[in-house]
Symmetry: C2
Subunit: 136 residues, 2 copies
């Protein structure tokens, strides 16, 4: 096999930023607030991200349109992690919390739809004025 093991492939922040489409600052910030900490650091202090870390970042990026706060996302990701890792006692409780987040997400979607409707109405209005006022 490789030089040590196959899954140890890590990436440093610049590469990750390009892959995921987030700025370096943002990725660092996500560590600051404990949202997506890198799995390791190099001897010299470079952040080293595993593929799993990258997936996490992608997840976060997909959550952003829902306007979740960073600590909400942190919480949500923690729940997913817990549910993933073996069987726990509080499975029920965790699943319920996950359901609550799902509900919030759906609520946000509704809000987004309202917002979009509002926005489109306004865009039409503006376009109309731009045309009318030109000929009035």
């Amino acid at each position: 096999m490789g030089d040590e093991s196959a899954d140890a492939a890590t990436h440093q922040i610049g590469e990750v930023a390009e892959l995921v489409g987030l700025s370096l600052r943002t990725i660092r910030h996500y560590e600051e607030v404990g949202l997506v900490p890198p799995s390791a650091r190099s001897a010299g202090g470079f952040r080293l991200y595993t593929d799993a870390d990258i997936e996490r970042l992608r997840l976060v990026k997909h959550m952003k349109p829902l306007d979740f706060a960073l600590d909400e996302m942190r919480d949500l990701l923690r729940i997913r992690d817990l549910l993933g890792s073996a069987d726990i006692e509080d499975r029920e409780a965790l699943v319920e919390r996950l359901g609550m987040y799902a509900a919030v997400a759906e609520e946000r979607c509704v809000q987004l739809r309202e917002r979009l409707a509002n926005a489109e109405a306004f865009a039409v209005l503006l376009r109309g004025e731009a045309a009318t006022r030109g000929r009035s």
Copy 2:
């Protein structure tokens, strides 16, 4: 007629806030940045808003979903004002600027739609996990 004139009916900030659905702080902030200054002040310093002012606030509130910055809105409102007040020389130029804002608005709508799609996908995913993990 009334006690002085019919169109002088003014409202103080609390009433306005309730009518329009914005917080006092927000309305004051809109004055701070020159977006919607009250047409008058009482002797003691109370902000007095005319119906026209209130309309302006409503307009701003409808623009918010488009994520315009406050100074962009200020600019946009100024253009509308200028176009409304009699005939000016630069009518052409102003109308063009208005058109640019319309274009930006339409662009924002597109972004909002993308965002909504993303959000809905994620909401479905979340709901799915909340169900699956419960039975896995």
